[in-house]
């Protein structure tokens, strides 16, 4: 036996003290500094917004702002209620349209479509999420508004209906994609158990899969609402921006104004430091808080789903409180409690007496209905829910087409529901599947029309000799868009060059080095929330911080910084997730060989995470290429006859150019279509590239 040959050699130095010379602390501190800078920026946005908006709330009573019905900042009227109500109405309308279409498409993709079709559809949906909002706005203005105008015989097509419709198309990819994920996340053994008891496919979907995926579907709706609330440019173009309630409140064809579009339309010409300017900051703060709440709820739900299916138990928070008697009483009488609280709110807020009475009685009525619903037997419960919905629909319909017709329609709907519940399960399945096919087809057709309209209209323009390589003249009516293409590329590359190093270092620090304490949690929550903050909020921050506070002029640099800050949270999060997805066993394997922590991260973990990080970076680039609002006040010029690479001069950008061709320049629809197509191709290519990298990487991944 050759045992004695084993230690024949000295490969390793006897003295291992070289290991004590360790670069780890230096690297850790470098990462920490980068992470701190990123975090400080993230919180600066929140702080600056509030500091600059605060004087407004000192000068104008909160009541006048929230419940005043007249918005005219130049005259000193700051009643934002119509804008807030309009925003809610438009968003509500969008969800009503998008939810059935989105859910049906998601069910189709996840449960019915054959694997190849599923892959193709999923890919398309994910890419479509990248269509810049200004392109939707262009489509809405040129096509949808004209259709609505002609059908209903109006003077203008700018309306609540077109706003909701455009928002619905825009939110559709988000809703489909999150719903699909939620449905796919339901484990197969649920389905198998259901099939094994003789359930049809539809019964399984309806009774097992959808209830199990319900929280994900809820999250999808909430994220869709978030997306819709934060949308600026498309709304600016299609809804007409009149800061009044629709008349009557259910009039879909009246023109409305949302918070984002009000800010974008009003911000530009305001005097610096005036109450008028601060009123827009106040609106931005309100919007920020709204999206903060919505995103927090969505994140909570999504993280709960993850825990549910990964079997991880939630932390026993408030466990003592949960066992107390008080909590049990609260559980028992929560309905009563809620009614009292909401009625109390109605009494406290300063509105007129009649509205107070109406509010309180609606509240009590609803809770009474819920109470009855609890008392009725299980199988009759549904009818009360149907009843409430039908009553609501009936009321809305009656304001449109008269009471008699509305009642007829409601009765018909109830009858149909009754009949459907009586037919055989196989016919039910056939019926519901045809509805799903129909709705998914509808979704595909709507999005298809949008894309193909832009392609058909824009492609001939693209082929014009000077369009891609020429300079604009006559305000963009003639000539090409070369400076805009170059400007967009400069902004995109610049913002990623600024955000990527900061974001990647911050992400690595947060996931690998930061202790899991309260500060880290707060940082993470801040980053998460900025991830879903509307771009118009970043626009205001960029303007107030870089231009007013630092005195930088409108320039490429400010645009790059603003866009970079906007995509920074996304990059931090994707980096963190990519790094976290690398199994702990790799780190341990490296440590067990005597490596330092950074050697393991730098040589094993980081290289394995690179594809994920690149995907995030490209998605960020796509986003910054397609954004209009953040550069509108900070970086763009309307026309240029030269190409500039100077950081301190404003540039042209495709998105802003497209916006101008739709608003200020009236007769340049063809050029606008060409610009839209160029922008669409640029952004979609980036998105497609990102998803191809991701799918190849997932295929190759073997751990």
């Amino acid at each position: 036996m050759a045992t004695e040959t084993v230690y024949d050699q000295i490969l390793y130095k006897e003295d291992l003290s070289y290991l004590k010379k360790n670069r780890d602390p230096i690297i850790k501190w470098t990462l920490f500094v980068f992470a701190s800078i990123a975090t400080i920026f993230v919180f600066l946005i929140i702080i600056f917004l509030f500091i600059n908006g605060a004087p407004f709330f000192a000068a104008v009573p909160l009541n006048d702002f929230l419940f005043g019905t007249n918005w005219l900042p130049t005259a000193g009227d700051f009643g934002a209620l119509p804008i807030i109500v309009d925003t809610l109405l438009v968003t509500f309308g969008a969800i009503i349209i998008a939810l059935p279409l989105g859910l049906a498409t998601a069910i189709f993709i996840a449960e019915i479509a054959p694997p190849k079709l599923r892959k193709a559809l999923k890919f398309t949906v994910e890419i479509l999420a990248g269509i810049p909002s200004i392109v939707y706005g262009f489509f809405g203005l040129i096509v949808l508004n004209v259709i609505i105008k002609d059908i209903f015989g109006l003077h203008y097509g700018n309306s609540w209906l077109s706003g909701s419709f455009i928002l619905a198309i825009m939110a559709l990819p988000t809703i489909v994609s999150v719903c699909e994920d939620a449905i796919r996340a339901v484990p197969d053994y649920y389905r198998n158990a259901s099939y094994a008891m003789g359930a049809t496919k539809w019964q399984t979907i309806r009774k097992i899969v959808i209830p199990a995926g319900m929280s994900g579907i809820t999250a999808a709706i909430i994220l869709g609402i978030g997306r819709a609330l934060g949308e600026t440019m498309a709304m600016l173009l299609v809804i007409g921006n009149c800061k009044t309630f629709p008349e009557p409140l259910t009039n879909l064809l009246d023109c409305v104004a949302v918070i984002t579009s009000t800010i974008a339309a009003g911000w530009g010409p305001t005097e610096q430091g005036s109450l008028e300017q601060r009123s827009y900051l106040a609106l931005a703060i309100f919007l920020f808080l709204m999206t903060l709440i919505i995103n927090t709820i969505a994140n909570l739900i999504l993280s709960r789903i993850q825990r549910k299916f990964s079997g991880e138990r939630s932390k026993k928070r408030f466990s003592e409180f949960r066992e107390s008697k008080l909590y049990k009483y609260m559980q028992k009488y929560k309905q009563l409690l809620l009614t009292i609280i909401i009625s109390g709110l109605f009494i406290l807020i300063p509105i007129d007496f009649v509205s107070r009475v109406i509010g309180v009685s609606i509240c009590i009525g609803l809770s009474f209905l819920m109470y009855i619903r609890k008392k009725v037997p299980q199988n009759k419960k549904k009818w009360i829910t149907y009843g409430i919905i039908i009553a609501f629909v009936g009321w809305v319909l009656s304001t449109w087409i008269g009471i008699l017709l509305a009642i007829t329609i409601c009765v018909l709907i109830l009858g149909t529901i009754y009949v459907i519940r009586r037919i055989s399960t196989v016919s039910q399945q056939r019926l519901w599947f045809s509805i799903i096919y129909l709705f998914s087809l509808l979704a595909v057709i709507i999005v298809g029309i949008l894309v193909s309209y832009i392609v058909v209209r824009g492609f001939p323009v693209l082929l014009e000799p000077d369009f891609l390589t020429g300079f604009p003249s006559d305000n963009g009516r003639e000539g090409g868009i070369l400076p805009a293409i170059v400007g967009t590329l400069e902004l995109t590359l610049g913002s990623i060059a600024f955000a990527l190093p900061l974001g990647v270092c911050a992400g690595i620090y947060l996931s690998e080095y930061a202790k899991n304490n309260r500060i880290t949690k707060i940082i993470r929550a801040g980053i998460d929330n900025l991830n879903g903050t509307p771009s118009i909020v970043f626009a205001l921050f960029g303007f107030v911080f870089f231009i007013l506070f630092f005195g930088l002029g409108r320039s490429l640099l400010v645009g790059i910084l603003t866009l970079g800050l906007m995509i920074l949270p996304t990059i931090i999060r994707t980096t963190e997730e990519a790094v976290k997805a690398i199994p702990q066993s790799f780190r341990e394997g490296s440590l067990a060989l005597g490596s330092s922590k950074w050697q393991g991260i730098g040589k094993i973990v980081f290289p394995a995470a690179i594809p994920g990080i690149i995907t995030g970076a490209i998605l960020g680039m796509g986003r910054s290429a397609g954004e209009t609002a953040p550069i509108m006040f900070t970086a763009v010029r309307s026309s240029a006859r030269w190409i500039t690479f100077s950081l301190f001069e404003p540039v042209m950008a495709l998105t802003y150019h497209l916006y101008r061709l739709n608003t200020e320049v009236l007769d340049a629809v063809d050029k606008a279509a060409g610009t839209a197509l160029t922008l669409l191709i640029l952004v979609l290519l980036l998105y497609a590239f990102a998803f191809i990298i991701r799918s190849r990487y997932e295929k190759r991944k073997q751990w």
Binding site: M1, Y7, D8, Y12, K13, L16, S585, G589, L593, G594
Partner: protein, 282 residues
Amino acid sequence: MKKENSGDVFLVLKFKNKNKEKIRNRYNEYNDEFVIETKELNLWYEDNHALKNINMKFRKNKVTAIIGPSGCGKSTLLRCFNRMNDVIEGCRIEGEVLFKGENLYNNNADIRINRKKIGMIFQKPNPFPMSIYDNIIYGPKIHKIEDNEILEEITENCLKRAVLWDEVKDRLKDTAMSLSGGQQQRLCIARALAVEPEILLMDEPTASLDPIATQKIEDLIFELKKEWTVIIVTHNMQQAARISDYTGFMYLGELIEYGETTQIFENPHQKLTENYITGRFG
């Protein structure tokens, strides 16, 4: 792999024979029979008292098995020996772990030096997502060996010791992820051997492998103990009986019984040990 071949596997290295004597001394300098020793070792995860007053001595050039039901703390104990528990947040350790007379948990004890000397094989094979060759040379490179010729030598030598050479010698540049589970585990053993540790810790190394791969690993352990001290945690009592010289039985964070394997399995002193070994619980 047939037993008779194993002699050929341990090839004499071609270079640098001059330090032979020195190396021999290095290995024998710690003349005590016990190479690792724990004294009053206590460990907590948050509030969970996972190890309770463990006093244990591990003999040189022997295979020591630690057995016990799930959650009894045997993996935790093993991870104390190369301080892998440091990675886990909320983990607190009291007591001493002496490696050749020096406390691993001393403030001036360098954690990385000790980890180089005490290698570890994990329950689930964890090759890095890189080529087979890169996996082996990862450790040596960390320890400042840059010469390509030596690195190739190490690769061949270690893969031969881990009885994997014949299977992979034509595809060293392939990704390690393409190997089967058993091959991956032997690769991990080869990777650990490449930094020339003095002790090998094995945390249920065959738990995720099929019987044939398990057989190969066991044969390998049998060979390894000629030069290395092996401490192995296992679920499988037959495996402990087959390959180990000494066995410790743990239950609920306490060391119940520790002694020669034959004695533990044939004539356990404690009632608890007997119950476990005869399959009455666990």
